[in-house]
Symmetry: C2
Subunit: 330 residues, 2 copies
Amino acid sequence: MIITMAHGSGGAATSELIDEIFAKAFDNDVLNEMEDSAVVPGSGRIAVTTDSFVVTPLEYPGGNIGRLAVCGTVNDLLMRGATPKYLTCGYIIQEGTDSEELKRIAQAMAETAREAGVTIVAGDTKVIEGGGGVMINTAGVGFVPEGVEISATRIASGDVILVSGNLGDHHATILGSRMNIQNSIQSDNAPLGEMVQALLEHQIPVHCLRDVTRGGLATVLKELSESSRVTITLDEEALPVAPAVRDFCGLLGLDPLYMGNEGKLIAAVPKAHAKEALELIRGAAYGEAAAIIGEVTEGVDGHGELLVKTAIGGLRQLDVLQGEGLPRIC
Amino acid sequence: MIITMAHGSGGAATSELIDEIFAKAFDNDVLNEMEDSAVVPGSGRIAVTTDSFVVTPLEYPGGNIGRLAVCGTVNDLLMRGATPKYLTCGYIIQEGTDSEELKRIAQAMAETAREAGVTIVAGDTKVIEGGGGVMINTAGVGFVPEGVEISATRIASGDVILVSGNLGDHHATILGSRMNIQNSIQSDNAPLGEMVQALLEHQIPVHCLRDVTRGGLATVLKELSESSRVTITLDEEALPVAPAVRDFCGLLGLDPLYMGNEGKLIAAVPKAHAKEALELIRGAAYGEAAAIIGEVTEGVDGHGELLVKTAIGGLRQLDVLQGEGLPRIC
């Protein structure tokens, strides 16, 4: 098998790459859970995660790769209910990069870390050949409060699915930047600690949290439906998409359901707590456009399924992103 | 400032890059210690570190980038006296990479992790454009036993400096591979847990441990002399270099003092414990060629200094690696 760009899409080809190569080689109980971050025993429960960031352009409306690299890893820790504490960062820098740009990236990283309440405690730099460009890996360490059990396998019949805001903003921003399109769209890259903390502090019995990144909402929910062996039915009309993004997608023939975000999460909570959860998310930073978007019922024959009720009354099956799907942003 | 390959050398230019950009932006007490890994409070003391790995060729005599990526991070944890426990890995893969090569790399990573006693608990893959190639970031988490205080600032007058084996093997291997030279030189890439554990178990009051990687022994010891404000005087004749590497360096005009290793450490221990420490390291895996190579005396006017007594009786000052110094391997 020769690796192609499709293997980086976050969809089916990425799963194949991970299953065939890495899951087989590294096979262990913690990794096999394939959660957003690993929860491991130390004294207490420690959450550990990592993510690498490659994006062109490095700076875009609403953020840059430095802010992105903090948000992505902090959010992965939060998705297990962990309190993010420490970050490491590894910079791979192409020769020819302007140190002024590097300063702005590092500065945004520092500011976003402060916003998210994490400390960057270790770092590494490597310089490679090339014509200017930066790739950043961050790893994160957090602590999971006692009693918190949030996992991809805990979504249950009777849950509702909430999303914390508008879909597709980051993806549309990056594509628009590359095409030099002038519009009002900004990346949603943001740390989601305030809304997660609000849910936990108010004792909402959250079953699952997942940030909606590469592969988009459909890929994330399809994977979760399989992990929890449930049917998730989305209401197309309830899916929040900002008007400018909707127009942008319409023009280019893109589907917001498969577009990446960098500051959105889905939450699965029991129906009885859905309204309170929605209010809590809406009241927290970056949650003002949150919405209830779907319901969970029993899986069929132990399988997971993702359906969407379309605006004209149909019921359509959704799969994970296949191949390239749409113009790549990472 | 435009970033050049020299900024990745591990020497003076790298220090400038880190000081000017990252240390300023991320400024905090833990990071400012600039140790091999950060020791942070959790419940207990947790060590955290990260390293990115770029090497051409990806596979070389004695190892590959997968083994390297485990050893580098595990060794950084060990250098604080921590017991390594968990690793994360982030793969950045160029399209065009053959999945068979990727399998061998992941397999070596898994085997080396088992050897080192760590579990790979989280991972990430990204695919970028290019013509085949892999970069790996690993981050590591370990736990520091109570009472262990090993740091770059604790080297004291009256200590001796030990090195755990021959210098320059990894660097010579990579250069030889690139030049298609057939010889017996193999990379020393190895996890150093057994020797560190032996020192700690036998209550050797180790003041400082540091693995000798990018920049070589001279850069590492010069930096440590500054952190601890001491004078370190090396005995040139005591420096262990394998005959094949000595010949290779002689032919190419390379200085083993500035060449990178991936399975060697230096230890600073009080003179009274030096002989026992040497025997313990020699008795552990990868320590058979260990040697006592120098002595520590007071710094002059609070400054650090690195000197070498040459074979013909002179005394020469050594500095950190400047500019590119010698053909780059990472």
